[in-house]
Amino acid sequence: MIGSNDKTMSHLSTGRLNVNHMKELAKHELLECLDKCMGSKAIVWDHELVGIFGLVADYLLLKEHQVIQMFELRPGRLPAITATHVIYLTRTKLSLMDTIADNLLNEDKKPSIAAKNGREFHVIFVPRRSILCERKLQVLGVYGNLNTISEYGVELFALDSDVLSMEWQNCFQEIYVDNDYTSLFHSAKALMTLQTLYGIIPNVFGLGKSAKVVFDLMTKMRKELSGSEPQITPQIDQLLLIDRSVDLLTPLMTQTTYEGLLDEMFGITHTTIKVPPEKFVHHNSANDGQTSEETIEGPTEAKQFHLNSSEELFVKLRDISFKSVGPTLRTSAKALTQQYDERHNAKTVRQIRQFVDKLPALQSARKSQSNHTSMAELIKEVTDEESFYETIQTEHQFVNCIETDKTSPYIEDCIAKVDPLVKILRLICIQSFANNGLKSKVIEFYKREILQTYGYQHILTFNNLEKVGLIRNSGTYSHRVYNVLRKTLKLTVQGVNELSPTDIAYVHSGYAPLSVRLAQYLDHPGWRAITDVLKTLPEPTIEETQHMAPGLRKRRNSGASIQTGVIEDQKLIAVFFLGGCTYTEISALRFLSQKEGFNADFIVITTNIINGKTFLQSLTHLPLK
């Protein structure tokens, strides 16, 4: 459940932007919501929210605020509750209202009034009250049972020192399948909060319809504030809004970075990963006396880890290609052993003492070393498989425009072998993208094969994929968009060096994420140089400056930079992915900012973190086995 996350979130304040403010704000609002109820509290969680709130507060903190019980929201009777207040923390999903109503009606049935004992029920909606949900509660006849209804209006959660996410699942699907722009409204609100904390962002660039919607909403919201904005010197120089529909290709490509692969294989939710325990069992016994949370859990239960930059080794590993994970682990293991061996050199009492002082850090480093070694082994098991190699090869064949115009025997065989549907759909979508749409004969062949193998209900799946443009009929393309993109933006790089990369293309073993390329070209040589390319991407393009008080403009090389010790010349660019981004995109942006001659740091903001699996899964209402 909640908690067990780091006691300190100090790693959040290490980036260019102190995103810890964001977290503190979220924490403050949460406590304010809770403190409105005086007395002991029981929280009933919407399952989805548990992990998200782990990013905000830990159980100890909630305990300090008189939260004595916590449950997951389930239909039927509530467990025995001793607290005075029962607080439902829930998203605004109509189906969840049914569950809450079920709980409350069951509570009503309880015979003795004494049992109720002046108990009060509250609902806190995240991130906002919803008239539909409230009406539904009314229709279900439990609205009157609720003492208060309020909202917890926090939009952004800090995943790491350079990543903020709204953790809004299925965001892309909502925007492009349902035409529901709620998430965009909240994106704009999130940007307003961001600007309240870190100043107005002077320059705004954007691509795609959603970017335009968000920018317009943000402008409108600023107008509504009519000048009562805080007067802060801007800390962020540029905002780049990227609509996911501008780059549908990247999330489909297999991620070949360490963190990306972990996400593809096991799924990282709210910075937490759950992996099969087998590889980790033997380490527990080695854990001399350290009663960490992992030792308590039985070996059959999945192992849970938090992945963030507070772990030194993970910082080194997360962004590199899986091919260089092994060497990196070896180097760090060697260094670790060396440090341990220092104890033999420790002769004087002072030296021994110095070594002992280092021990806790060394022990946690050793633990981290062994955990990541195990995870790397898990990854290697998969990457060594022939099918992994074949899949990657097929992907790259497609993005290099080789044999994209006819049905692929590999895809056909995968269908015949009943491989996971999501893997097959990814390949078909990539092929469609690289071929600027597929001939209807090809599409119909794939469809028929899939429908007969996986069931006819996937007509709906295809309907959605076609609706959002992931699969297109080549008739709808007027010219060879992808070929132009590939050439001008150098999307594919032959013979990329994955061990010591020189280009962002290493994140997909030779394919450079289009979205990040756009961010790269924005800085240099500038979008003017690639107007022809921009024209082929989903319209419109935004290039705007936000008005602000003249005194607030940042002066370069001012005295402040000396005090804060920040290299002020390095611009800070916020890249906001509307509809989600992948770990490889984050890694690629990090790589860019480290690259010589590139004068910008990035902070990544996203509606949610996605990978090919979750991305396609969200687009269908059906499970993709």
Binding site: L94, S95, R128, R129, S130, I131, L132, R135, K136, D178, N179, D180, Y181, T182, L184, F185, A188, V213, D216, L217, K220, K223, E224, S226, G227, S228, E412, D413, I415, A416, K417, V418, E444, K447, R448, E449, L451, Q452, T453, Y454, G455, Y456, Q457, I459, L460, N463, H621
Partner: protein, 869 residues
């Protein structure tokens, strides 16, 4: 130092080093129209407005008679504090017992039946309330108002000689006080002490003094130590802050003391030698009592010092916090204690630092070297900072602009000699003086002293300027002091706009334009609030126009909804007339709603409107409306998809959106558990796909229907669940059950591709270990998937023997790899050697473990042989 005498000419000493000053604030505008002796007068403190009632009306009130003269119809005149008339209340109510001003400058008219009417200074009735039924029955004998921490209160003495108290007129909770023993006739005098914690009424019954406590409901006899014999206390007065009290006896003895519970703390007792009751007895600030007897104004200090002024005209005294305002026929004067700091500076022969600094500055301006001498004197005493402070403070107490300037100049001069002196007090005083001088000017006429402004605060001052409609000055003060929008400009402009809405001087169009021109988009004044007022005032059109400027849709939309109801009511009224016009206008309004909501980007708001529209319109109208707004339409679809699926299908049907309709039929078929229903939904989906000309999907649905029929048959035959399976899974199940023929039949029926079928059958046969069958199958014809998978699948099930059966059929290029896979390294090496492939030999050799030493050596030889060739 002679020049200083000028400033002290109107000072009168009251004891040692204490001076009182009486000076003219201004002349009165009413000079030729009003003679105070003919009027009952009441004036609000802080330079507030004045209300007058002709005395003849008042006395007639008392006699309560002559109906023919319509005694209850008379005028209450409201003047500004400078004596210019503001408005007239035509009083038609019952007999009045008291008129008095509240602390918010509202005029309270208290009738003898306990009904209180509250008017603003423009004679607009704001509020009416009744004090108490008992008061109504027994009638008011006498009443007084007072200002406590809760606001303005009212104390009432009824004809039944009972006291009532109301602490705050805006929260009318009246309390009856304890009975005064033996009170059968009206008491000589009574007064209210409203201290922080409690409200006490002091009642003088002849020579006895009773204290009625409102909180404790008690009545206590108290005996202040008055040494001179007396038979009755005739007058009492409490200082503004309720900390001091004075009592006057019928023997002319004036007792002054602290206003605590039992009045034991006495300052002094002074013999006024006046047996008559004074017209007024008031505290002047906290330091002296002033009594007015016809033409004598007597000031008595707490140390029995006294002085008197002769007044030759009828006057009325108004108690201020730091002095007394004296309103007369010709002029208004202010009597107050000269502030010690002013005494320091202007006092004759004063050598206080401030006085020296002032002198130094004068010499400096005269270019005299003596300036330096004064400065040295101050510096030697290290009092430069004090001297500057003194000058600044003294300037605040002065009314003459030239005197203020002189003092501020001196302060500014002195500041030069103090390095890093804080400039804030100086700047603030400059600001304060500019404000004070502006409001004292006769065009505004609020004669506040500095002390009074400090107590009143600038925010309240702005309120008062708004009340007097001096919007421009209020705005200027707000921007001059850089007040926050909410406290300053926005408040002023908002009130201005509300007044515009109320006044109805110009038509809606013009008013809206005027308001917008002034407010723009960034004034911080919410248009929705003004629009709301406009609706209250029945100016719907104006409200609509104003709402066009409201940027916050969350504020705008609810009001538009509110307006719509008004339009509906209106529609009925006009139905007989031009219905068409009304109807189109109504539609405009309703139909503009979704647009506004959508513009806000706020989904919740859009839902609100959708819900309202659904309630307000017929189903048809609703659909017609909502389809014009794609976003709202999508949201409604989403809602239906989650909650009311049938509605969604109907919706698409009505819209002729066949593709979506087909999809919705399909999803309904998926959730349905009833086979017949499932099939009929699928049939509908088929029809809709046909209509949408999606032949491919239609054919697929057709396949689905056929498959289902087939599965139903299979279920009957094998008593096993088939219905939820896909075609592929169905064939798989049949192969598992060894129904190879049936599966073949299905393959043909549904035109399953060879490759896929071979993969399936091969996999399942290996899985079920039917290796014989597998071999048979492999020989039916040439495998469309090659024979490599056969080897793979056998190896996967750890059957190397079976795997080797297919090795011969494997493609040439894969041979070596597959021989290696099967562990036939030797053969692999042979093939490689035959193909003269060194790389392949390397590959084979890399697979040689320690057990294959021999082979490894052999391979090395082979390689050498190849190299030699």
């Amino acid at each position: 130092m002679q020049t200083m005498a000028l400033f002290t000419s109107d000072w009168n000493p009251l004891g040692k080093d204490i001076y009182y000053r009486k000076f003219e604030l201004n002349s009165m505008f009413w000079t030729n129209d009003v003679d105070l002796k003919d009027f009952i007068i009441t004036s609000a403190p802080f330079g507030g407005p004045i209300a007058l009632i002709e005395r003849k009306n008042w006395s007639r009130l008392g006699t309560n008679g002559n109906t023919s003269l319509k005694p209850n119809q008379f005028n209450i005149f409201i003047f500004s504090s400078l004596g210019s008339i503001i408005s007239t209340i035509k009083w038609k109510g019952n007999e009045l017992s008291l008129i008095s001003w509240s602390n918010r400058e509202d005029l309270l008219c208290i009738q003898d039946d306990g009904i209180v009417s509250v008017y603003d200074i423009y004679a607009n009735l704001q509020n009416t309330f009744t004090l108490d039924q008992e008061i109504r029955d027994t009638k008011v004998l006498e009443c007084k108002t007072f200002n406590g921490i809760h606001g303005t209160g009212i104390a009432v003495l009824t004809t039944s000689h009972r006291f009532f108290i109301l602490n705050n007129i805006s929260d009318p909770k009246i309390r009856r006080l304890a009975e005064v023993p033996g009170l059968t006739k009206s008491p000589q005098c009574w007064t209210i002490v409203a201290s922080n914690s409690e409200t006490i009424v002091l009642v003088a019954k002849d020579n006895e003094l009773y204290s009625l406590n409102a909180n404790a409901q008690s009545c206590q006899l108290i005996t202040p130590a008055i040494s001179a014999p007396f038979t009755a206390i005739t007058e009492m007065s409490v200082s503004y802050d309720s900390s001091h009290i004075s009592l006057l006896t019928d023997s002319g003895s004036l007792w002054m003391g602290r206003a605590d519970n039992d009045l034991t703390h006495k300052y002094c007792e002074f013999d006024t030698k006046a047996k008559a009751r004074p017209q007024q007895l008031l505290w002047c600030g906290n330091s002296a009592v002033v009594g007015l007897w016809k033409n004598i104004l007597l000031v008595v200090g707490p140390d029995k010092d006294w002085l008197n002024y002769v007044v030759d005209q009828p006057v009325h005294m108004v108690e201020e916090i730091d002095g007394i305002r004296i309103i007369g026929n010709y002029m208004q004067e202010f009597l107050h204690k000269v502030s010690p700091v002013v005494v320091d500076i202007f006092g004759i022969g004063s050598i206080a630092p401030g006085a020296l600094l002032l002198e130094a500055n004068k010499e400096f301006q005269r270019h005299s070297h003596r300036a330096d001498e004064y400065i040295r004197m101050i510096q030697e005493r290290k009092e430069m900072e004090t001297s500057v402070q003194q000058c600044i403070r003294a300037a605040g107490h002065e009314y003459g602009i030239s005197t203020q300037k002189m003092l501020m100049r001196a302060a500014s001069f002195g500041k030069c000699f103090v390095p890093h002196m804080e400039s804030k007090p100086f700047v603030q005083m400059c600001q304060t003086l500019r404000i004070l001088n502006a409001i004292r000017h006769h065009s505004i006429g609020i004669p506040l002293s500095w002390n009074q402004l400090e107590v009143l605060t600038v925010e309240v001052l702005i309120d008062r300027l708004i009340l007097r409609r001096h919007f421009c000055l209020a705005l200027r003060i707000a921007s001059y002091l850089k007040m926050s929008e909410e406290k300053g400009a926005a408040r002023v402009l908002g009130n201005w706009a509300l007044l515009k809405v109320k006044q109805r001087v110009s038509d809606d169009e013009r008013t809206a334009r005027d308001i917008f021109n002034k407010l723009g988009y960034s004034s911080g004044v919410p248009y929705s609030e003004i629009a709301d007022k406009a609706i209250d005032n029945g100016r719907t059109q104006l409200a609509i126009k104003l709402l066009d400027h409201e940027l916050r849709s969350s504020q705008q939309v609810p009001l538009l909804l509110k307006l719509k109801q008004h339009r509906l009511a209106l529609q009925r009224a006009i139905e007989s007339g031009d219905t068409n016009l009304v109807h189109t206008r109504l539609s405009d309004r309703v139909f503009s709603l979704p647009q506004r909501a959508i513009e806000s980007g706020d989904t919740n708001l859009v839902h609100t409107v959708i819900i309202r529209l659904r309630e307000a319109l017929s189903a048809g109208e609703f659909l017609m409306t909502i389809r014009d707004y794609p976003i709202a339409y999508s949201l409604y679809q989403k809602y239906c998809r989650e909650e009311e699926t049938e509605k969604l299908t109907d919706l698409y049907y009505q819209e002729d959106d066949f593709a979506s309709e087909a999809n919705s039929w399909l999803s309904r078929s998926l959730t349905s558990n009833n086979v017949t229903q499932k099939q009929s939904y699928l049939q509908s989906a088929y029809d809709s796909f046909k209509k949408s000309r999606n032949e491919f999907n239609a054919s697929m649905i057709d396949e689905n229907i056929r498959l289902n029929k087939y599965q139903i048959k299979l279920e009957e035959k094998f008593h096993r669940k088939y219905l939820s399976l896909s075609l592929h899974q169905t064939m798989k199940q049949l192969i598992i059950d060894k129904e190879y023929k049936l599966s073949e039949e299905l393959k043909k029926e549904f035109k399953v591709g060879d490759r896929r079928y071979w993969w399936l059958k091969m996999t399942i046969l290996a899985e079920t270990a039917e290796f014989l069958e597998l071999e048979k199958f492999s020989k039916i014809k040439k495998s469309p998937i090659g024979y490599e998978p056969f080897v793979d699948i056998c190896l996967e099930h750890r059957n190397r023997y079976e795997a080797q059966k297919y090795l011969l059929k494997i493609n040439e290029e894969n041979k070596i790899k597959y021989y290696v896979k099967c562990g036939l390294l030797e053969d692999a090496a042979k093939f490689a050697f035959e193909a003269k492939d060194v790389e392949a030999l390397d590959y084979v050799s890399s697979r040689c473990g320690p057990t294959n030493r021999l082979l490894a050596d052999k391979i090395t030889t082979m390689k050498n042989q190849l190299r030699l060739k």
